[in-house]
């Protein structure tokens, strides 16, 4: 099989082809390493780990020959550089983690290696996962492999998991690990025309993932198909005593859920998501999505989520507050960057953090510090926590009526690198449709569903009740089957085809 053809396989096809001995893990890994080399202009990978990938492939081939293949034997993956990987530099795309090599492995990546998966490298992201465009990375922006028709300006891949989304879209890897705090899996997936799955909070362990906002952070897969996302989630998930919020619950066979019957289920369409000035192309795609789900046997029901408009401002209190606390650990003492010439301890802390953090991270730490400071805690932080309760109650009431909720993933398609940089709030608005489910801890998935007038991909989001990823996956597969989305254009741009 030609190398280009190997990078065009879905993750499920690659897995099955390895087991059928149609090609070796070594051939599969080499094809992807070649694609990564050709696609370096995207800046999707911060670290490439070819030696480790080839060693993993060799072990996989031995196991497959011996009939001892595990669930992901020989499947190559990109890993967002927010997951600690033992012996491989982990940066969170920040200068402050300069030189840091974790002496331990995150639980999610450990689970993947135990299932036989192979690491190709670490993918770029917004610094500390704070951003919606991947432009806050200390190591430069990632380019979206898609371009507007007749316009060659580079576009953002979305963020914060921009490197993972761009790498999967450009066929540099069949799947990648990502994390989502307010939309960081789903929004870049929509921008790059791939599938992004954020599981229920507590489904995947946070141990070893560089913390941003601990009550919101959750790991999930980015893939080219819903089936591939289901396959990866099964191996990632599971109880972990090292994460105090990990949930003790059996991990279902998410791949089997694709075949679930949907007839008789109800899909909720929240009227509050039809915001003023909504892009008519996004609205039209949303209507198509409703029709596709009706065609799959679901009944569409209009629902109310009355506190939706308050989700984003509440998030921009809660997430920075948690971040200001989590990022207090970067002080130049135990790991990472330390400023030169600090003659006293306090001076050393301040200069180290001032030069180690980028502008957006500094801004969020300062907002967080302010809303938690004496005299403001009740007015801001406590208020936002109460609003969060109301948002969670909205969803709970809606799920008494419906089984799954359908919304657009993002208010627009990918924009040019450099746009929306002047005004933080206009950047924050990218996450207006993804943040509410994050605050409620609910699972969400973005499915590529069509393109806009410029030929750029658009995504639809499904949200399900806690720990009902299976219904969400089944409904996502129904949309995927009817949308007939073609991601081929991105693969050509990335050099993967």
């Amino acid at each position: 099989m030609a190398a280009a053809a190997l990078t065009d396989l879905t993750l499920a096809e690659a897995r099955d082809g390895l087991l059928a001995k149609e090609f070796s893990a070594r051939e599969l890994v080499e094809a992807h390493l070649k694609a990564m080399e050709a696609g370096r202009g995207l800046n999707a990978f911060l670290t490439e780990t070819p030696e480790r990938a080839l060693a993993g492939a060799e072990e996989a081939d031995t196991r497959i020959a011996a009939g001892e293949a595990r669930a992901l034997e020989g499947v190559p993956l990109g890993i967002k550089d927010l997951f600690c990987t033992e012996g491989v530099a982990t940066t969170a795309a920040s200068r402050i983690l300069e030189g840091f090599t974790p002496p331990y492995e995150s639980t999610v990546t450990r689970n993947l290696w135990d299932a036989g998966a192979v690491m190709l490298g670490k993918t770029n992201l917004d610094e500390f996962a704070m951003g919606s465009s991947n432009t806050t990375s200390h190591f430069g922006p990632v380019e979206n492999p898609w371009r507007r028709k007749g316009d060659n300006r580079p576009l953002v891949p979305g963020g914060s998991s921009g490197g993972s989304a761009a790498a999967v879209a450009a066929h540099l890897c069949p799947g990648a690990m990502a994390t989502d705090t307010g939309g960081s899996i789903r929004q870049p997936a929509a921008f790059c025309g791939v599938v992004g799955l954020k599981p229920t909070y507590g489904r995947c362990s946070r141990y070893g993932i560089v913390a941003f906002a601990s009550s919101l952070d959750q790991a999930g897969p980015i893939t080219r198909t819903v089936r591939d996302g289901a396959i990866l989630l099964r191996s990632m998930a599971g109880f972990d005593a090292r994460d105090s919020t990990s949930v003790q619950r059996e991990v279902p066979d998410f791949e089997a859920a694709l075949a679930r019957p949907l007839k008789g289920l109800k899909v909720g369409v929240p009227k509050e998501y039809r915001v003023d000035g909504m892009d008519p192309e996004i609205d039209a795609l949303w209507q198509k999505g409703i029709e596709w789900l009706k065609d799959a046997g679901l009944e569409a029901v209009e629902i109310g989520l009355p506190h939706t408009q308050y989700a984003l401002p509440a998030y921009y209190i809660l997430a920075p507050a948690e971040a200001s606390s989590n990022l207090a650990r970067y002080d130049g003492v135990r790991y990472g960057h330390r400023a030169e010439g600090g003659s006293e301890l306090l001076d050393m802390y301040e200069v180290t953090r001032g030069e180690g953090f980028g502008a957006e991270v500094r801004r969020r730490i300062m907002i967080g510090t302010y809303v938690l400071s004496a005299g403001y805690y009740d007015a801001y932080y406590l208020k936002a926590q109460k609003v969060r309760t109301l948002i969670a109650r909205d969803f709970a009431a809606a799920f008494n009526q419906v089984d799954v909720i359908l919304t657009p993933t993002a208010p627009g398609a990918a924009f040019a690198i450099g746009e929306k940089e002047d005004d933080p709030i206009s950047m924050y608005l990218n996450d207006v449709f993804t943040v509410p489910a994050s605050l409620a801890g609910l699972p969400g998935i973005s499915v590529p569903a069509g393109t806009d007038g410029d030929g750029l991909p658009l995504g639809l989001q499904l949200v399900a009740p806690s720990f009902d990823e299976e219904t969400m996956i089944a409904a996502a597969a129904a949309i995927e089957a009817r949308a007939g989305f073609d991601g081929g254009g991105a693969a050509a741009a990335g050099g993967g085809a």
């Binding site: 030189g99 840091f100 090599t101 002496p103 909070y201 507590g202 009550s215 919101l216 005593a241 105090s244 919020t245 949930v247 506190h307 408009q309 308050y310 401002p313 921009y316 209190i317 207090a328 130049g332 003492v333 135990r334 790991y335 990472g336 960057h337 330390r338 600090g342 003659s343 006293e344 301890l345 306090l346 001076d347 050393m348 301040e350 953090r353 001032g354 030069e355 801004r363 730490i365 300062m366 907002i367 510090t369 302010y370 400071s373 406590l382 208020k383 936002a384 926590q385 109460k386 609003v387 309760t389 109301l390 969670a392 005004d423 933080p424 709030i425 605050l439 409620a440 801890g441 806690s466």
Partner: protein, 95 residues
């Protein structure tokens, strides 16, 4: 909500982030804009609503109070910008 220069300097000190004097005005404007946008939360009636501090509706687990990890000083110190004799080292704190 408008944050003045002095307030921003105080927040920066609390956050242990050195901000150059000439950057304070710009930062005050940015943070004021964001806080002003956040003010819309005041329109929500939250009387009697309990605060939500975590997504998963669960009690924290208990475990036996025993050491489960440790004895790896070389690993702990491996990433330190400065270390000596099994300790992290920092600039002097007192004269």
């Amino acid at each position: 909500m408008s944050l003045d220069k002095a307030t921003v300097a105080r927040i920066a000190a609390l956050a242990r982030i050195r901000v150059a004097e000439e950057d304070l005005d710009g930062l005050a404007r940015e943070l004021s804009n964001i806080m002003g946008w956040i003010e819309q939360l005041n329109a929500v009636d939250t009387e009697g609503v309990p605060p939500m501090s975590r997504a998963a509706d669960q009690k924290l687990r208990w475990r036996e109070d025993k050491v489960t990890d440790g004895g790896i000083p070389e690993k702990v110190l491996a990433n330190a910008p400065a270390a000596k004799d099994g300790f992290f080292t920092v600039p002097k704190v007192i004269e």
